[in-house]
């Protein structure tokens, strides 16, 4: 049964909507839509870097220790880059580097420097220091809870004693009723009678 809703139409034609959630009636090529959405060539890389980074960090329990380790590795790497004239590094650049460190080898070798510079850019020592600081803050701010590796369960597997024990928002005052007369945005008597 088709329901004529404006959000369905907007989702079908808008480049700002989640390309993965389309009703079959408006099924479009998600890849095309994905590419239309903002500048995803760069953004997609960043998102993937985040995902991989989260996954890697999620395997480790000691967040602080890990952050220190990351900074140490970064410092060691950027030592080779100090003194070069370069654009200022950003958190995203640092993330891209972290992504590389974790996913490729975790130990940077001299022959990788050129390749890394392509994504990281050249950095001056002050910019590198700024980047270290940002990375340190970033690592400290990564919420442990978000990174927890979760084993989902189907509802059938849930222990009955914990199921719905304290659902979020149990005492929220929400009126979810839809029956009754519609809610007009004002009096209707002043409208022209067609």
């Amino acid at each position: 049964m088709w329901v004529p809703r404006v959000i369905t139409a907007i989702r079908a034609q808008s480049s700002i909507s989640n390309p993965l959630t389309y009703p079959s009636k408006f099924q479009h090529d998600p890849v095309t839509l994905l590419l239309k959405r903002r500048d995803l060539t760069e953004k997609g890389e960043r998102v993937r870097a985040w995902e991989r980074l989260n996954h890697e960090i999620g395997k480790r329990r000691d967040k602080e220790k890990l952050a220190l380790h990351l900074v140490k590795e970064l410092r060691s790497f950027t030592h080779d880059l100090c003194g070069r004239e370069a654009p200022e590094a950003t958190v995203e650049d640092a993330c891209a580097l972290l992504f590389y460190l974790f996913n490729e080898k975790r130990v940077v070798e001299q022959r990788d420097i050129g390749r890394l510079r392509l994504s990281f850019g050249d950095v001056s020592s002050s910019s590198a220091n700024k980047a270290f600081k940002k990375v340190k803050e970033l690592c400290a701010s990564l919420p442990e809870t978000l990174l927890e590796e979760v084993k989902g369960k189907s509802h059938a597997d849930v222990d009955e004693t914990t199921k719905l024990k304290a659902p979020f928002g149990a005492d929220l005052k929400i009126d979810a009723s839809v029956s009754g007369p519609p809610f007009p945005p004002g009096r209707e008597d002043a409208l022209i009678d067609f």
């Binding site: 139409a9 907007i10 989640n18 919420p143 084993k151 928002g169 005052k173 979810a176 945005p185 067609f194």
Partner: protein, 390 residues
Amino acid sequence: MLEPFVWVRYIRPPEEEDMKAEWLENARYLLEDLGFLLSLPHARFWSRVVQDQELHNSLESFLNQGPRDYDLSVPESDIEVEHVVMALSRRVFIVFIRMATYKESGVEQMPPEVFAQLIYDKYVFDIPKLIGLCSMYGPKNHALLTKMVSHIFTVQPAYTDDMLHFSASLHEVFESIKQETGLVLESGRSTGCPVWRKLKDICLFLVDTCMSLWRFVDIYPPSANVFHQYTIDIRLASLYDAVMPDLSIGVQKVIESDDADCKSREEGVKMLDRLKHARLAIINAFRQILFIPCIHPLLQSSGERKGAEATQGEASTGVEDFIVVITSCLGERTFIVDYENYFPFEDDLSLLQQASIYIDATRTDYILEGIRSCQEVVLSRTSSRPGPTK
């Protein structure tokens, strides 16, 4: 990795009695699963929200297919169905509220910037979802939604940029409504009466568009600034004039047609009522989109100066915009007459004068004359038309 979890999608309650049992089973699965999701601790809840796309498809299905108070038929005839729909509606809303909350307790929280990045990059919220939420839950949960939507826009300013894209899409929707209306009415010209099924679809789509837009602007007034920037106000007036009279007359013809069955007549009467709501929604949305960016800041700054005379420079942009929009809409006669009945232009002038804001009298006289002319034309047009059959 998350273990696979099968999320069922919501479909509307069936009209056929023999489909009811299957629908109830499906809906109860979803109800239970959402309960399970809400019972998860913060970390596990967010892991699933971030990684499980099927969850979002399921929630989205409820926003798409779920009931609105302006739908023609609501599941009020069956108590059992109504209870399940209400329970689902409540749970879906709570899931969205939870997804808009980054701090659940002193321990269970994440930094706002991480939250902002997650909800945007993972499409936890996007503009269609926010519109859907306002449309569905707005009338009865206004304060809660205002807090939730404002919070989302505050933590993630990228949504404001997305509003511009949304405005462009909205414009396309308006154009498609105009086009479809023309086609539907044209198709019924030879028989003297449009095909009810097609007419109903386009009317429902129009009602949903207008009500959703108005509810969103009402719940999140800063959106008016973006809509005004994209001239959605002028486009709304144009839509009103282009389709409202013709669609209302088309529905009236169906009601009066000898060929129409009882159900079509009954639905037609309801549809006329919904179209009136849509007209009010357009008038109110237009008002918000015009008033908030143009007039409201002038009155506010005037109040702050405690009655001191506004400088011409400060007031000129807002007033200029206001005058330009109203002047542009003078060609949309039906709209102007209806709008004038609710928000008289002279009242706005008086308000601005009280705030010591200068407006060129020649331009205001031109507008007042234009409004009077619209009233005369519309009055002569409606009085020459045969009245509806009682």
